[in-house]
Amino acid sequence: MVFSFISHELKAFWRSKNTGKSIAIRVVMGILILYLLLNVLVAGFFLDKILEHAFPNEELIIPFCGIILIYFLFDLLMRLQFQELPTLRVQPYLHLPIKRNFLVRYLALTATLSVFNLWPFVLFLPFIFKVLAPDSGTVVTLAFIIAIAGFTVFNNYLALYLKRRSNINGWVFLVSAAVLILAIASDFLWHIISLQNISYAFFGRLLIMPALAFLPVIIAVGMYYLNFIYLKQNLYLEDLTAHKASSYKSSTDIPFLSRFGSVGDLAANEIKLVLRNKRSRSALVMGLFFMFYGLIFYPNPHYGEGYKVFVGMFMTGIFIINYGQFMFGWQATHFDGLLVSKINFSDFIKAKYLLFTGISTVFFILTTPYVYFGWRVVMIHFVMYVWNIGVNTTMVLYFANRNFKRLDLSKGAAFNWEGVGATQWILSLPLIITPFIIYGPFALLKHADIGLALVALVGITGILTRNYWIKVLEADYYTKRYQIAEGFRNK
């Protein structure tokens, strides 16, 4: 039975409609993961050196025991965001004469086949063998390996359990990441509470009492059974599908937009689209993450002004780039409806401009605290904001006419490659390069101000000539619309 399940899954993979694409994506993902794994392996191999450098006054083993807990907290957070739930696949087997226990066990056990379960070993094993084994002997080494394995499995099932019980969205992730970072800061910077001490309280004792290693194994087994029981009790279609019986959904108005007539109505609909669907919502939340992008570059004077142009464009325009690259795929499910409705395409496009302008304005306002790094930063942000709403919007919409891929809005955006095609890759080039073609030469000749002024000028020209571009886009759209609608109908 296990073999036929596995063979079904292999067939599902090979026979899925976009197999070619998903193999390519998997190869890319695989290389990415390998690269990360290699990085972690190097970090793991030099963990003793790193710790020595970071904690010069302590014996190596103490900070090592201290960081394990912190690592697993991060691990849990990452799992909550990125680890996939293996659920829906059992649906076609539920009504067949297959024992529920078997199905559940299959589900629960295949859940351990995740790359996430490799990280802790790659990171910690080299240190254990290099430092711990020669000092403390085989028994303690084994105890550490068992304990780390136990915590890994525990985390694996805890993350799945939490994900099954509640809808973890981007906001929860943001908040808990902030809490964790605060906790670590309060450990290392302010010395209020110490995660390190808690961690050491367990792993330090492990050195003396190796038998304690069975504690994590016990909680791991406990967590597995909790998962098992929960899954078994909820092995019903309604629990397996994403939308559970949910709260009352109220109708809302966006009064500000209603003054724009049917263009405003269309923009209001799209704002609702963004907020009410998982994938678009996470695109927005990711955009909010980007508000911290400047913190990576600005504190360091080593990075020149070119970075500010780049970062400014991303921070004020991230929504245009991140959301716009999949247009009009967001509306794929009801595109036929839009086509037969009494909607002018020029209104449709104007609504997109309105949406982009509105949200970019909000994002620009959110970046104003960067005034801390000088007024010039805000000025550059403003120039790039003008560029974004003047030029990038039109560019994104031009490529939207060439995007024929349907999106499933109910899935998260992280590591979601659905709807990604050549269009997105081609689109990213002009988006990133064009401002530098204008700004770059002047910056190199030490006339950055003229470069910035030109960028602003082109942006303003773009805004002033919008009506012309709308006509261009409309004419272009009429040659493409059957192809767009056809593509969107293909599930």
Binding site: K249, S262, L273, N277, T333, D336, G337, V340
Partner: protein, 251 residues
């Protein structure tokens, strides 16, 4: 002439799915479209609504070529499938939006919806659900309601009876008849339910493999004629055919 089709053809990978050399539908007609799965009903609908590009030929709506034209959208209301609904809106939001496209205020929409209260049967409005969380039948109700809201001159529905309950089917039939008889709305409806379609429509088009093979005015014998075509009531003959197949397999 409401709809005029000339030499319309659609070919998918070598297979002709629609082939209609000539078809005219006058204003005020009620037309029923029947045919087995794959006969080309939905494709024909989509071409009339300019959603698919025909390989040859054209569709005239009210004397104007429909393709690339926006005028027909002002007087045509249609519901083919859930793809016509904006699924992340509540039914109210969607209906207000559609009303707004036809310059109707919320009050006007509310008034129109009041008349649909029976049809909705308390399952659509003020339920606190997005359209995507409604059942297929209830989604169909929202789609039909949005059509009615637009006060169309041409109404096109693809298998509206398929997912709705018997009471709603009955109410929908009455709504269609009323729209056609009292308001003069041209209706084009497809269905697999021969009883309903002969009851609602004055003219039946029978499609097979993309062609319209029969074009008949409904009278008392139409239902019988259609049933004969589809093989309803020929249980015995089918049995004989099955037996033959079995015998062949045995050999």
């Amino acid at each position: 002439m409401m709809i005029e089709i000339k030499n319309l053809k659609k070919i998918y990978s070598g297979v002709t799915v629609v082939n209609v050399p000539q078809l005219s539908i006058s204003k005020g007609e009620s037309v029923g479209l029947v045919g087995n799965n794959g006969a080309g009903k939905t494709t024909l609908f989509r071409m009339i609504l300019d959603l698919i590009r025909p390989d040859t030929g054209e569709v005239l709506s009210n004397g104007e070529v429909a393709a690339g034209n926006e005028n027909w959208k002002t007087y045509t209301a249609s519901y083919l499938d859930e793809g016509f609904l904006i699924d992340y809106l509540t039914p109210e939001e969607y209906l207000y939006f559609i009303g707004g496209l036809h310059q109707q205020s919320k009050a006007t929409v509310d008034e129109a919806l009041l008349k649909l209260a029976d049809f909705f049967n308390d399952e659509i409005l003020k339920k606190g659900k997005y359209i995507r969380d409604l059942s297929k039948g209830n989604q169909c109700k929202v789609g039909v309601a949005s059509c009615m809201l637009q006060n169309p001159q041409l109404l096109m529905l693809d298998e509206p009876f398929a997912n709705i309950d018997p009471s709603t089917q009955f109410r929908l039939k009455n709504m269609l008849k009323e729209a056609n008889k009292t308001k003069g709305v041209t209706t084009i409806v497809s269905s697999h339910d021969l009883n309903h379609i002969t009851d609602v429509c004055d003219r039946i088009l029978l499609m097979e493999k993309g062609m319209i093979i029969k074009d008949i005015a409904t009278n008392s014998s139409t239902l019988k004629e259609l049933e004969n075509y589809f093989g309803v009531g020929q249980v015995f003959e089918e049995q004989v055919v099955m037996d033959k197949v079995d015998e062949e397999e045995n050999h």
